[in-house]
Homo-oligomer: 110 residues x 2
Amino acid sequence: MTKVTSNALNRAFLHSSCRINAALEMIAGRWKPLILIHISENQNRFSLLKQAMPGISDQALGKQLKELEADRLVTKEIIPAIPVRVDYSLTEKGAALLPILQALAEWKDL
Amino acid sequence: MTKVTSNALNRAFLHSSCRINAALEMIAGRWKPLILIHISENQNRFSLLKQAMPGISDQALGKQLKELEADRLVTKEIIPAIPVRVDYSLTEKGAALLPILQALAEWKDL
């Protein structure tokens, strides 16, 4: 095995801390972890999410959902019913975050 | 086993999301994950941390270290040398965060 130079280790190390910061930014804020958890619990429509999170405004919820979609953590399916229905679901990446969020919750109590 | 009512589940669920947000707040910001990682890599003095993170000001590093100490993620040991020396180290709780940070870095790349 070639000896990994300390520079290479350093680069890998810095690269991972940038990824950590980018990941934290993706889920930062009061609502995003909560929205992901609610969608995973099948509260997967705007109205259901509003009910589950009485403190959030329509505007804030709409913005968070758009950002979560842009970051590929959530997908939106438009159901051609009357009135039209929009169902949200977690992507694979969104679902993969849940155990990390659970680990953070448990870590908080240490 | 007594049937866990949906209210109890809901309370446990909301309790864990508050803990997630509290945990995220503790480590949010551009520098805290990086400082914890550097201290874990034995860059455990102010001067060493400054060298390792050229972009951070003295003031910002001092503030972050104080907050990390207040949140019990880092401890400070004053070594009676001349000049006096201050060594930082991760608490058990600080060290327990590192695998979660690593998981977040890997999750980011999914």
